[in-house]
């Protein structure tokens, strides 16, 4: 079977006042349809850069990304992104936020009633039907992230990209959302790439865990197949030998092989530079 998404020799160099900075080098990855892949690594290792390149928000300086036979050159709804801090429009209700995306994607193919039904369907999927006419600042952080996921799912993306989606949430809320996400993934079979720095989260949710080395010139260090059968239950998994072994492998990679010695100010300034390209 041919991979749905293919990253070949992806590299990323940023121009900084101190010269060129190579953030990513030779990232090669093939992802099959329906697969759930996590990217894990220490902060600043370029996980977000990889995700932004797949999203089309950044253009790789070397190599390229092919999604379903088309090269990725710009952002688009077929690669919907769930951002870390929900990124809902604060002046719109949950319903209107999702509606904006649905109207944009299905304007030509769905009738008004169908659009409304589709928005409601997706909000129900993330268990947000009860609060769909509330504005973002009237609902909790976890609920906002649910709406963010509903908005991304409503675009019917070929790949769902999630940038540390639960990073800003408390542990209990995070567990709820992880369960919801597993449920949705089982139901829809969406292809997902998720960035995380939570080892348990990565093992629980993923089919494969892609571990990244520390930068500069970060690349893929190891790829771990998580063979734990689905559906997975977090309580039963706590002492499942496969689960424990996978967890061990990731921890070893992060804290023995890629132990982070010191913060690298040079890299940070390069990242900041890239983020601040408009300023």
């Amino acid at each position: 079977m041919k991979a749905l998404l293919e990253l070949s020799n992806v590299g990323m160099k940023f121009d900084t006042p101190k010269g060129q900075f190579e953030a990513l080098k030779d990232v090669n990855l093939k992802i099959d349809s329906g697969e759930f892949v996590s990217l894990i690594g220490h902060s600043g290792c370029g996980k977000s850069t990889v995700l932004n390149i797949v999203a089309g928000l950044l253009q790789a300086t070397d190599g390229g990304v092919i999604l379903d036979k088309h090269e990725v050159t710009e952002p688009g709804p077929e690669r919907a992104v769930v951002f870390q801090n929900h990124s809902l429009l604060p002046w719109l209700t949950a319903f209107e936020n999702v509606e904006l995306a649905v109207k944009q994607v299905f304007r030509k193919t769905k009738s008004k009633a169908e659009i409304r039904d589709w928005v409601e369907h997706n909000l129900e999927l993330v268990h947000m039907a009860h609060a769909m006419h509330k504005k973002p600042d009237e609902i909790s952080g976890g609920m906002k992230q649910r709406v963010g996921i509903a908005r991304a799912l409503a675009m019917q993306p070929q790949v769902l990209l999630m940038d540390e989606p639960f990073g800003a949430l408390d542990a209990l809320t995070r567990a709820h959302l992880q369960d919801s996400l597993m449920e949705i993934h089982a139901q829809l079979g969406t292809t997902v790439i998720m960035i995380t720095h939570d080892v348990d989260e990565a093992v629980l949710l993923s089919d494969r865990i892609v571990m990244m080395t520390n930068g500069p010139s970060a690349t893929i260090g190891e790829i771990l197949e998580v063979t734990v059968p689905r559906p997975r239950d977090r309580l039963a998994l706590a002492d499942d030998p496969t689960f424990v072994r996978c967890r061990q492998r990731v921890l070893q990679f992060l804290y023995e092989k890629q132990r982070k010695v010191e913060p690298l100010p040079r890299r940070n300034s390069a990242k900041a530079e890239a983020n601040r390209k408009r300023a």
């Binding site: 952002p75 709804p77 604060p90 002046w91």
Partner: protein
Amino acid sequence: MVTLTFPTWMEPYRALVTGKMTGEQWQTLLRQLIWPVLGMAVFLLLWQLAAQRIDTSLGQFPGPADVWEQAGTLVDEHQATRAKEEAFHERQEKYIASRLEQQPEWEPVYRDYTGAPTFFDQIGTSLITVMSGFLLASVIAIPLGIFIGLSNTAHAAMNPLIQLFKPVSPLAWLPLVTMVVSAVYVSDDPLVAKSFLTSMFTVTLCCLWPTLMNTAVGVTSVSQDLTNVSKVLRLNALSHVGKIVLPSALPMMFTGLRLSLGIAWMVLIAAEMLAQNPGLGKFVWDEFQNGSSQSLGRIMVAVIVIGLIGFLLDRLMLMLQRALVWDKSSVQR
């Protein structure tokens, strides 16, 4: 048995009447009523004391009582003028009716009453002028601000000009505006008076800047996340501005609009005074030139009315802001 419900701000007063005041209600009462009234009373007292010690060539400086009296006179004058005007129109109607009886083929000529504008007419003129100037400024500044905020090139090109013209006093613009309006606005049957245009354009030129700057800043500070959402959704330029940029910038834009309206009102009075254009400014100047013993009192009435209108205009903008802006925390007092 009738149960009355009171709005929350009235609660302390109800408690005062019924004699059941809590400590917190006393605090509210002090803050809402007693301190402001006390502040006002002290001010009036100091004013009275100071006024007694100031002798001008137009007589003693007016105290609060004199000013109150003059306010009454201004109301009376206004009513008297209105009565005269009505009488004039009645006479005209009668004359036309009687002449038409004798000469049915005669084309009647209606004339307007040409008495001097009263204090209240001047208030009306000033309000219309300030709103026109402010609206024109907003119509220019908001789109331009959005453009500057969106485009780094436009910002680089226009920023020096903005910085240069922003601090210019209205009085400096006034002669130029007057001359240009006289030269350009030539019409046998003018829709509006030249003086109105001069005042309006001066107001526009001076109150453009806060709205322009704040809109531009509001647009520049649209969060990167929301811009990314817009990119992922592939919103075209128009929807990007309409659905993401404008709502994001709205709180800042309103801050600018409120500042602009405040400046507009201040500038207008100065412009009217200097250019002898109809309005409250002209009223003040006329009274000053008049130099009667009541003049200072009448000017003082105008000063208070100008302050009051400025305050009301600001409240109006605040209400509009509260009604329209999604981010309630951005609405300051």
